[in-house]
Symmetry: C2
Subunit: 565 residues, 2 copies
């Protein structure tokens, strides 16, 4: 592409609400322009990158035997009623009324539509397993769209849905998709981890998220330093500490802690470490209050807590009055010793192995020291209810856990029979009996990947694209202040040779000053830059710089071809 | 592609409401499935064809120097307010309210969004001319969606928008787009005509429609039998008949025509030809009634009439009471002779050259014979207000007009400054002065092309794809009732050779009976079919049939390669 014939519009200033680096750089590079809150136009430059991602995704999905199709963006209410999600999905579901007052949604996902398609198209087990996918525009009416295309309302997504007769077959395709996703993100040149994830609102059994690692990521990931183990922090298991609980040695003593309500205050005041304290949270359960006990240095994991049978999916801390009326004590002084008998006491694995610990005194302004489970305090059940922390043993038994931040760009689920059951999607098995199909679903946030790649790879000057995502792999710059025809011709010739070798090349023929030219090319992240100049022609070399490196190198044309081969 | 690994689901029965051949065949072939009124899922088979069209469109747009981008489907109300189309577009505009009660539309077209983009991105005349396009899902809330994807609500469209400093530059790009569209439809293997069209609601100056010729087409086209002239019938000019109006010879006579109100009845009753009669329509003008006079055998062209200064854009016939009160006469007996002086008389060119004609008597139950313009009847103005008919002289002076039916698949417009003016989209010219940009817009109905191609090319057995649109160019069928390994291997080898030569090939390895196999392949329209069988292997030949031909031919493998080269 000759840059003089392309619409490149880099800008210096971006709106103050663009907080995230990728958002700022995409605006500065002119890849996207905001149309309205959460709605972005992809400029020719931005679309080039988006299509690179799209094409790698398509290529690998096809290679995995999935079949591309295209479902409507607008979906009828009736199907969402059938699965119950019309009411349950929440206000991210953009509802639409047509001229005849019929209701529709702008699809945020397509489980309903594909299952409806499948119940009509698939009749026999012989057609299974089958995996359909599409790459299509979706809409989620985010309450607070932000971070540019990272959390836009309208976005491009690849969604795939597989159908099976048995859980084993679902497992097999799930495994193929796991490998396919790994190939996709590897080909795109991204550092990523496949992490075990909670299945959340979509439901189902196994689930993995594919996270692009970046310090700015919204998600916390725990991974082993010695194995492949990685999990979303919501999901990562905290093992029980090794060894038995020591026998009690200290006596239970009530001590005055007049204003010490937090673990930090109490442990400092009493001169014990937080690891020797037990903190007690009183939360609203399905039937009355429930006590959750954690070691003082640990935090509750709300997703794990939400799975306790005593608690609703989203538990909340009981308000002060409720605690006061149930226990006669204010929050900050609650503990497991002497708690009313109708309150279940769920103890985290790490808290359960403590002996002679400090805990709330169940009387305002007091704590206990020398407290011990069983002897002094009831345990209803020991459970894993805490957040893992760096240094915890990896749940697979290999190494210890490290923490990282990630951006979710892919998610695979084993849905099981959930949607097929709701919509009555059955096939006849080899006995001629109708069987509800099992389903898997597999999503990739195509437009989000573009932003995630920038979060992972950029510097002060701008974006640093992985080769597979760059709008062009190499830029040929003409520095020709005397406007010598031989310089122009040499640059044109090099441009044509590169294009002839199938290397996507940008010829910067705008005639700008070198500083302006280089600033643009660095901002838009072109991986390789060569300069054709009078001086270079004289020495038979090109001035080459790899994006992200600080120094130029003089190389020959052949060396350039080798480097780009 | 091995058909055993593809989701092909042909069906025998289609719903009764599928009236149009292309709709029926697309359903029978399993290319599309209806999700809701005007909303269709494209199956893997259908999408393969849709992508072929999309890729040819993209390739030719790129070659023409247009730049692909991607705008949001959801557009904010404010922009539509700025151009006035929020109110004027009508109820085909699907309006959406988000969770914050802000209003949006699901874009049926993108003039507003691109002009907003341009007013922010384009600053200088040096950036012009420029041509942006996208291939994207659009929505029009049709009152009566029908004919499958031919008139769906959600559809895939290529829309392009060019920006210019001068009308000359707009003209140049318009001409390039005209040629590009011609190349696109030629490459797709379609019989089409570029016809002059009315600019309609989008406004602007020049406009051409690209019509795929098909008897079932909704649009009537007039074209010359001796030149390139072609026009939408709404637009085709009816020339004035050659020669002067003859001098009056007959006397004006009022005759009784007690029950004869129509031209057919009057001309039969009086024994004159309809060509010798003048029919008079009284329509509601901007200020009172207007008389439109046509030759008895001609029909009014409402688009032409709508352009008369006396008439509103959409004129309606005056109701009986209004005619009665204005003229004292009932419809059927109105004529230009003695019409009240306040009613303008607009006479069509062909009616204006008549002498001694028959017309209404302006008294119930009577007509005049021997009527003559000027002598007996006023002419306010002579205009072209009729529909052309077959045999009319071509307006370009070459040949006579023929009629055909067409399906509109493309439309190019010179919009001029309309949208740029409304949205204040200006650039600085070479004098540093702000100038409103001129615009062109260029649409192609990508999904509609698929249906139009089928309307143009099918037979009893199913679709007959042009090579460029076929899901696969050739099908290799295995007929192997004895399940001989050499037959299977020969078919596999041929399949691999064809794919190796870049010929998209479908291997029908489903093991069906030949009849079923051939019926499917004919239905889905594969252009070339070869059979590998025991008998063929023995003779060293393949049984070949071109889709649409009635006979098989025995050909060698080399002959097949030559044929597909």
């Amino acid at each position: 592409m000759r840059l003089s014939q392309f619409h490149l519009a880099t800008v210096k200033e971006v709106p103050a609400d663009a907080e995230l680096t990728s958002h700022r750089l995409m605006l500065r590079a002119g890849m996207i322009r905001k149309l309205a809150s959460g709605l972005y136009t992809w400029s020719p430059l931005g679309l080039r990158v988006l299509r690179k991602v799209e094409n790698v995704v398509r290529d690998e999905m096809d290679r995995a035997g999935a079949m591309e199709m295209l479902m409507p963006a607008v979906q009828p209410k009736e199907l969402w009623k059938e699965t119950g999600r019309w009411d349950k999905f929440g206000s991210e579901l953009l509802k639409i009324r047509d001229r005849k007052e019929q209701e529709f949604v702008f699809g945020p996902t397509h489980e309903e539509v594909i299952t409806d398609f499948a119940r009509n198209e698939l009749k026999s087990y012989k057609q299974l397993p089958i995996n359909f996918y599409q790459i299509q525009t979706k809409f989620r009416d985010e309450i607070r769209p932000r971070f540019g295309v990272m959390r836009a309302r309208e976005f491009l997504m690849k969604d795939a849905y597989s159908f099976h007769l048995s859980p084993e077959s679902l497992n097999e395709t799930y495994e193929v998709m796991y490998q396919t996703y790994s190939r996709i993100f590897s080909r795109l040149g991204l550092k990523f981890r496949a992490v075990q994830a909670d299945t959340g609102a979509i439901g189902g059994n196994a689930s993995h998220e594919f996270q692009v690692l970046a310090d700015s990521g919204e998600d916390a990931i725990a991974f082993s330093d010695r194995s492949d183990y990685a999990a979303n922090i919501e999901k990562a298991e905290a093992l029980a500490p090794a060894g038995e609980r020591p026998a009690p040695r200290a006596e239970l003593k009530r001590v005055d802690t007049p204003t010490q309500k937090t673990i930090a205050d109490v442990s400092a005041f009493l001169g014990v470490s937080p690891q020797q304290c037990v903190k007690t949270l009183l939360v609203r359960g399905r039937e009355g209050l429930v006590a959750l006990c954690l070691r003082g240095d640990h935090e509750i994991n709300e997703v794990k807590a939400g799975k306790l049978p005593e608690l609703p999916d989203e538990s909340v801390l009981a308000p002060e009055e409720e605690i006061l009326s149930a226990t006669g004590t204010r929050p900050g002084f609650i503990g497991p010793v002497g708690l009313p008998g109708n309150i279940p006491v769920i103890v985290d694995r790490s808290a359960a192995v403590l002996a002679d610990f400090v805990c709330g005194g169940n009387a305002d302004g007091t704590h206990y020291t020398g407290a011990n489970w069983e002897r002094d305090a009831r345990i209803t059940r020991v459970e894993d209810i805490r957040q893992v922390v760096e240094g915890d043993p990896s749940p697979d038994g290999h190494g210890t856990l490290q923490m990282a931040r990630g951006i979710e760009v892919g998610h695979i689920f084993q849905l099981g029979p959930k949607y097929a059951q709701a919509l009555g999607a059955t096939v006849l098995d080899d006995q001629g009996k109708a069987q509800v199909m099992m389903m898997g679903c597999y999503g990739i946030g195509v437009s989000r990947i573009v932003a995630a790649a920038i979060e992972q790879s950029h510097d002060e000057a701008g974006i640093i694209w992985p080769e597979a995502m760059a709008p062009w792999r190499v830029a040929v710059c003409i520095i020709n202040p005397k406007n010598l025809p031989e310089v122009r011709e040499a640059a044109e010739a090099l441009y044509r040779k590169l294009e002839g070798r199938g290397v996507e090349t940008l010829l910067d023929d705008r005639g700008l000053r070198p500083g302006q030219m280089f600033a643009d090319l660095e901002l838009i992240g072109i991986p390789h830059r060569v300069v054709v100049s009078e001086r270079g022609l004289a020495s038979g070399t090109l001035e080459y710089r790899r994006r992200g490196e600080a120094e130029n190198r003089a190389i020959t044309e052949d060396e350039l071809f080798t480097l780009l081969a």
